[in-house]
């Protein structure tokens, strides 16, 4: 296999706040390592406040206080030179953004500037990368929109004149107009209704195949992962708890938390009542010792309460952080 496009190692990013004498540390991303290959769609799953969004913010270097990166590195490899995104200058980062690394954001409602026409946003984001005179640039944008089955007159609309699904399609067009190698997609379908969602997913898949980009796709919706992603990482309470090929994970999840996530998916003809997990996800300002899942885990033992389980490769390409993994099931 060729060199991965993205290598995250030992990443640790915390929120540190202090107001009126109360200081807090929220360990949103705690010691995460993963890598993503060229042309791969990598899914990131986990319930809300598991640290997914913080992880990809850190990967995109969209870090603002109180979020701080304490340890680890995020290295992209565009062409043949690796770049650590947290250790390059603002200008160098500006050259990478949108040309090589683009972003589709959660909550399509608000990502477009509400008081300006869509055209201006395309100019602001892509003009300097495409590097052609204005009329030609606009033609490139129009062609791209048409390829994505969007009418070019959306360029003259204000965001509020477009529907939610339309806005999300426009942002996908915006994110892919420079043909980037890597796309970060943060819950791009969450705010949409199911029918629109399907269309948007198909659109992402189509453009990804055409461009050959890698995508890190974040959603808590396991059904979307099952349909779209090649590999899957499961996060719980700021940690990666399982990672492997999507098909393998769905067939035989090894971490009890993943097993629960998959078991709670509705299936056709399924009549048995779903079992919920006891308790709530831990407070990341004061996480439980040992394995962070142990208070809710049906398989927890003494060691789980004392020590944090390391990520271990249980079968080729399938890793999990658990002392008592679910049994392996032969393919």
């Amino acid at each position: 296999m060729s060199e991965p496009v993205l290598t995250v190692s030992g990443l640790r990013a915390w929120y540190r706040t202090s107001a009126y004498g109360v200081s807090r540390e929220v360990r949103a991303v705690d010691d995460i390592s993963l890598s993503i290959a060229a042309g791969e769609i990598y899914g990131l799953a986990g319930e809300s406040s598991s640290g997914k969004t913080t992880l990809i913010k850190t990967i995109a270097n969209a870090i603002q206080p109180p979020l701080e990166v304490l340890a680890g590195s995020v290295v992209f490899r565009f062409g043949d030179r690796p770049v650590d995104i947290h250790r390059i200058s603002r200008e160098a980062l500006g050259k990478i953004r949108w040309k090589h690394l683009s972003y589709i954001m959660q909550g399509s409602m608000n990502v477009l500037n509400p008081v300006r026409r869509v055209r201006h946003t395309f100019f602001d984001f892509a003009f300097r990368h495409i590097g052609r005179p204005k009329p030609e640039f606009l033609q490139v944008v129009r062609d791209h929109l048409q390829r994505l089955h969007l009418a070019p007159d959306v360029l003259d609309a204000f965001p509020h004149q477009l529907s939610g699904g339309m806005r999300q399609r426009v942002t996908i067009a915006l994110a892919t107009v420079c043909r980037p190698e890597f796309i970060i997609a943060d819950e791009p379908t969450t705010a949409l209704d199911v029918v629109v969602q399907k269309g948007v997913l198909a659109m992402i898949h189509e453009i990804q195949r055409e461009l050959g980009s890698s995508i890190i796709f974040v959603t808590h919706d396991m059904a979307v992962h099952a349909n779209l992603t090649d590999r899957l990482g499961i996060m719980y309470a700021g940690r990666l708890v399982e990672e492997g090929r999507t098909a393998d994970i769905f067939r035989a999840p090894r971490h009890p938390y993943t097993a629960h996530l998959i078991a709670s998916l509705p299936r056709l003809g399924d009549t048995a009542p779903k079992k919920g997990l006891d308790g709530a996800p831990p407070n990341l300002a004061d996480p439980p010792p040992g394995c962070r899942f142990h208070p809710r885990c049906p398989r927890a033992s003494d060691i789980c309460r004392r020590e944090a389980p390391p990520m271990a490769e249980l079968s080729p390409g399938h890793r999990a952080a658990c002392f008592h993994p679910e049994p392996e099931r032969p393919a």
Binding site: Y20, G21, V22, D286
Partner: protein
């Protein structure tokens, strides 16, 4: 409440400075109760004496000891501000809470009237008021008039908070358990808007004192009740600046500026404290 005060004092410099300034001004006003002279007596001390040990702020051309006169003046000025603030609070609360609670047409009608009062230039109206009242003008009447004109801005703020309370669960619980609108507003909603009421009170006091000083300096109030504005009015009448009696102007202006800045800092810091974003940072977890 006590804890909030201590927190604010320790971690918010604006609040601490504001409180100190206001304490100085208040302390000065309280001294008026120990004054050796009644406020309206003139020619009790030699006129036009510069500040000295005997007369720390000098004396006026009307033979008054400026120090003691100032204690009365600032007391009346503050009292005026508080009176206007209290009366207009009542109006602002009722209108803001009702508009927010009822929503819909009632809200739009009330806010239209409200915006009207925000936009109308009040100063000419107050001057007109003085013009037709002339000698009948009194401290209390002016306070009442200003309260009737000066509630609108704060009513809008209160209404915006009340509007968000309307959709909260406890409001519905209240309605379903048969509480009247008055009960819900007073028992359920009032506590939520009180912080904002506190902060707007400071601003409102500032506003009314400012207008009172302005009207008084022009002689458009009852010029026989000593206030800061009236004090400057008399100084101007005696052309104190031209005559070089600078202290007659300097000390009242200084004191009232301290009061303005103090009140303003309190308002700003309280506002910041009740801002949901700073609240979020504070809530331990």
């Amino acid at each position: 409440m006590g804890r909030i005060l201590i927190d604010l004092l320790r971690f918010n410099r604006q609040f601490a400075v504001g409180l100190v300034l206001l304490a100085i001004v208040l302390g000065f006003a309280l001294l008026s109760f120990f004054s050796p002279y009644p406020p309206n007596d003139s020619f009790v001390v030699p006129p036009d004496v510069p500040p000295s040990w005997a007369y720390p702020m000098g004396t006026t051309s009307r033979g008054q000891d400026l120090f003691w006169l100032l204690t009365f003046s600032i007391r009346n000025t503050l009292l005026f501000g508080v009176t206007v603030a209290l009366i207009s609070r009542l109006l602002a609360l009722v209108i803001g809470l009702v508009a927010g609670y009822c929503g819909g047409l009632v809200d739009r009608a009330l806010m239209s009237i409200n915006d009207t009062f925000i936009v109308i230039p009040l100063f000419p109206i107050l001057v007109l008021f003085y013009f037709v009242m002339k000698d009948h003008m009194s401290w209390g009447l002016l306070a009442l008039m200003m309260a009737c004109l000066g509630w609108a801005y704060d009513a809008r703020l209160i209404r915006s908070v009340a509007l968000s309370l309307r959709t909260r669960e406890f409001t519905e619980t209240g309605i379903f358990s048969g509480m009247s609108m008055r009960q819900i507003l007073v028992e359920e909603h009032l506590p939520y808007v009180l912080p904002i009421v506190f902060s707007t009170t400071m601003n409102n006091i500032n506003w009314s004192i400012g207008l009172e000083v302005t009207l008084s300096v022009l002689g458009f109030t009852d010029i026989n009740t000593p206030t800061i504005g009236v004090l400057i009015y008399w100084a101007n009448q005696h052309t104190a600046l031209v005559a070089g009696i600078w202290w007659w102007i300097f000390f009242p202006v200084l004191l009232v500026i301290l009061a303005f800045i103090g009140l303003f800092l309190l308002a700003v810091s309280m506002n910041e404290y009740i801002d949901p974003r700073s609240r979020l940072g504070r809530s331990g977890g």
